[in-house]
Symmetry: C2
Subunit: 120 residues, 2 copies
DNA sequence: TGACCATATGAACATAATAGAATATATTAG
DNA sequence: CTAATATATTCTATTATGTTCATATGGTCA
């Protein structure tokens, strides 16, 4: 966004990538992979989701280029292919924190300002 | 994600924020606001979307704390409340670029590797 | 080969997100 | 007050996304 205008296609790609990160199960998967590669079975256990669901989320992350897979015997190991995801999450965390703090402040400043206690 | 485990609620908040950025119209709105505040009418013109649609997207961004609004007469001016969105977009752009370059490389390496040209 | 295990995929269903038309609200001008 | 304008909201239809169950695929081992 550094001043230049992005065309619709690019914007759609960026949006798509944000959407890819916009699911708590996928975020949990990525977080679980932060320490290194894991098998699907591991990830199923960690997330508590169904195997089919985990597998599909992993395919989405794979097609998006955020993770890689490696087969070893019967097991498939996934790992993070782009560390930027963690940077993104950190920035979002900061943004969220700032937002929530502002909200708190706002609420504190309006204490008891939720409408009249008396009728008419 | 700096090594600590995030609970489900936090993860959902983060995912929600990513989803907020996961729409091309909203990204276009944010980009349009990068140069400073704009009225809704301006934004409708810029995006080419319906007024109702723009208004709804702006409400989403507002509730997410990414933009602020200011009323002046009949007009409402929106502005970016959290510059981190641009940082996020830039990181995503970098991530996308890396991914697409890798894809290209991959394709180049496999040139003509798309199956036999002859039948049986 | 067949039995078995891990992972992926397909189909059906439920839910969420989005757009568009119509309408409501808020503000100013007369 | 009414008319006019800018913005917000409601309602509805449609589409996208996610979950689950069942099944397919790919691999190992006897």
């Amino acid at each position: 966004m550094a001043g230049n205008v992005l065309n619709d296609k690019t914007l759609e790609l960026i949006a798509e990538r944000f959407r890819l990160l916009g699911d708590p199960v996928r975020l949990r998967l990525l977080q679980s992979l932060e320490g290194g590669e894991r098998s699907v079975a591991d990830l199923v256990a960690v997330t508590g989701a169904q195997q089919a669901s985990v597998s599909k989320h992993l395919q989405l992350l794979l097609r998006g280029g955020l993770v890689e897979r490696r087969r070893q015997g019967m097991f498939v190991y996934y790992s993070v292919a782009d560390d930027r995801v963690f940077e993104l999450c950190n920035v979002v965390c900061g943004s969220l924190t700032a937002y929530l703090e502002k909200e708190l402040e706002h609420l504190a400043g309006r204490e008891g300002d939720e409408g009249p206690a008396t009728v008419s």
